[in-house]
Amino acid sequence: MVDRLATLTTYRRLATASMRARAQYRLTFGLDFAAQLVAGVSEFLAILVIFHHLPRLGGWSLPEVAFLYGLAGISFALTDALIGQLDTLGQMIRMGTFDVFLVRPLSGLLQVATSDMQLKRLTKAVQAGAVLTFAIANLHIAWSAGKLVMFAAAIGSGAAIFSGVWIAGSAIGFWTTDIQEVVNSFTYGGNYLTSYPINIFGVWTRRFLAFVVPMAFVAYYPSLFILGKPDAVIGLPALAFVTPLIAVLTLSVGLGVWRAGVRHYRSTGS
């Protein structure tokens, strides 16, 4: 146990070291927060503009969609902040940096993640949090202990689901470093999709997001429960309670794909 704690501390040190390195470039460090803020605000402005033209989208009001957006956004931002660096795996393999990681007594995955933790990625969490606050202030949610638990679980589970997808997607880089951009469709695409109520999408998309890449459980199902809305997708609002299970499953699959990727890398080289 002490050993594990010490290892966690090591990763923390690696993460803070990478932040210190970034902070040396003061101008970019500061401006990056601004850039993230602009990007986040632009995303939400797009939603606002949609609601300028109609009062409800797929049966969801603006504060309700804002709630969805905020919840999904926080989960995404946490994931991005923790493991977003996995996007550079292809580059690390090409430059031989990953080999340096393998020669150290640490996990390859966590070394990649902590190699460049960028605080700017948390800007989205703050912005999404602001939107969430606006949403809660304008909704009349009948809070209960169950809903509070669901709320907390949603954020953690959402981050776990995004993480599973991100890790699995990045692991493609072990097989071919060329097409890693495809992963962006799932990670950043996932961020986009989870900001909207799933029921506005076509039936196949809905099923895909519920059963294949279970993004529907990041914010949609938990929100149905918290907001007390009926489920238009499968018809089981209680599905929200499956969220933590889905989260564990997705993360496990993601880690499994990663491990397979490392095995492949270690047997075929680069």
């Binding site: 470039y25 970019t28 401006l31 402005l45 503009v49 300028h52 060329d178 097409i179 951009e181 495809v182």
Partner: protein
């Protein structure tokens, strides 16, 4: 003149080598097209007509802009800045070819490659999945191509200026990131400028960014006819010229700085 042509060809070829990345990028552009289209379908079901767009106009807008992202290289073009930081830019400056023209030629070569391999594929997929508004009038297509070329030049002129900041700040990345985030929205990628309420729309449609995505799409959709069409193309051309000129002035200042400080 030949030198510019060769630079353009080299620009095309350089990007043509990235086969896997190009495929992956086109895939991503397509997926995002599907996602944005799906979201807007829900809006269009309730309100098919927004501004001057009907439903298929809006969907065409989504797919065209997805295709145009790489043609106009909206995000993160930093080739020039990298050469400034490494010092290699001195080689480019010593060439007997106009510096800005050299970079523009290369960019146009690149734009052609991206038009073919990252512009057309998503739009093709879009026509299969969504009811898009594809014009049959060859004159419209001609006007569209002209507009896209102008849009690329316009986008280049902006990117050129932002990259030049590297001459003063080796740490240029933050500025590039902020600029990119800003003009992504202002160009109308996230939502058609058409959809905005009148006040903001008026402002944004006067800015040069409207010429990067919004105008080419509107030309394609036939929203500009006759004199109005000339007006739209002129808007792009004038802004491009103004920004290219600004870029040249900034470049001159950068060269002066280089000569004074050395390296």
């Amino acid at each position: 003149m030949r030198a510019y042509w060769e630079t353009a060809v080299r620009g095309y070829r350089r990007y043509a080598t990235y086969r896997g990345a190009t495929f992956a990028g086109a895939f991503t552009n397509t997926i995002f097209g599907i996602m944005r289209g799906s979201v807007l379908l829900a809006l269009l079901a309730a309100r098919p007509h927004i501004g001057s767009y009907n439903s298929s106009d809006t969907l065409t807008y989504v797919w065209l802009t997805q295709g145009l992202i790489m043609v106009t290289y909206l995000w993160g073009w930093n080739e020039l800045a990298l050469r400034v930081v490494s010092g290699d830019v001195a080689v480019d400056l010593s060439r007997p070819i106009d510096f800005q023209g050299y970079w523009l030629a290369g960019d146009l070569g690149r734009a052609l490659f991206h038009a073919i391999f990252r512009g057309i594929p998503p739009v093709l997929v879009g026509t299969l999945l969504f009811p898009l508004h594809i014009p049959l009038d060859p004159r419209r297509w001609l006007a569209f191509v002209a507009s896209v070329v102008l849009a690329t030049v316009l986008s280049f002129s902006l990117r050129f200026i932002v990259n030049l900041t590297a001459f003063w700040l080796l740490d240029y990345r933050g500025i590039l990131n902020v600029a990119t985030a800003t003009w992504t929205f202002l160009a109308g990628l996230l939502i058609p400028l058409n959809f905005l309420p009148d006040g903001p729309r008026g402002v944004l449609e006067a800015l040069p960014f409207a010429g990067i995505l919004q105008i080419p799409v509107d030309v394609f959709l036939g929203k500009h006819q006759g004199l109005d069409l000339l007006g739209a193309l002129a808007f792009q051309a004038l802004w491009a010229a103004a920004l290219l000129l600004t870029g040249r002035l900034i470049l001159a200042a950068a060269v002066r700085k280089l000569v004074v400080q050395g390296g």
